[in-house]
Symmetry: C2
């Protein structure tokens, strides 16, 4: 039987400081639960086959879409549906929990072949 | 294209008061994101085929397992792996976010037939 352990998000967040580098804290069926610290602007991108959930733990997060801009505060979530271009922007540091399918790669689907290690992010 | 909207958990929680009755607030790939208010003791149960995630928003939640007891506070998460018997206990009211596969039924897998409407919880 798998060990069942409580995961304290604040404690996990204290273990890293690099930005835009999601860390895996748990697996949930076919998804990973990740934590990330964001600051500044990310690039426009989309995930062709997977919805992505953002939950804001601290800070204010802006997510630009092509037709609107979303403003998230702590306690807010948003699901970016597959195929929707988005650009996260964090004027100040933001801490988020992400839930993404295990197949989601930061490098894009083209890297998801058996001879190439996917870059999901590391476990902490 | 699906509408993309920010979901404010506190606002959604203000819309219901019934206990042990998860409400769906979003879908994420093959899962639903749900909110629930818990108070008192639930029954021992397990989900044969699905892991279940609890994220504690407010209050203190105890989850009894057969071999240990987990204590969760706000900002803590736990993933109960499929097949693991668990019994949530909330001495005072607790608000949680749950993430469960769309196939998870409160009535158990035996009800998951096409001629019977599954009881996932209602949308709010």
């Amino acid at each position: 039987m798998k060990k069942v352990a409580v995961i304290k998000l604040a404690q996990k967040l204290s273990q890293f400081s690099d930005l835009w580098s999601p860390k895996i804290v748990a697996e949930l069926n076919d998804s990973y639960i990740k934590l990330a610290k964001l600051k500044g602007e990310y690039v426009w991108h989309k995930h062709e086959n997977e919805d992505e959930m953002f939950f804001v733990i601290s800070g204010d997060l802006t997510i630009e879409l092509r037709d609107t801009t979303l403003s998230l505060q702590p306690g807010d979530i948003v699901v970016i549906p597959k195929g929707v271009e988005h650009k996260p922007v964090a004027p100040s540091e933001v801490h988020v929990m992400l839930i993404e399918p295990k197949t989601t790669l930061s490098t894009g689907d083209s890297a998801n072949t058996e001879d190439k290690k996917p870059t999901h992010g590391e476990w902490i």
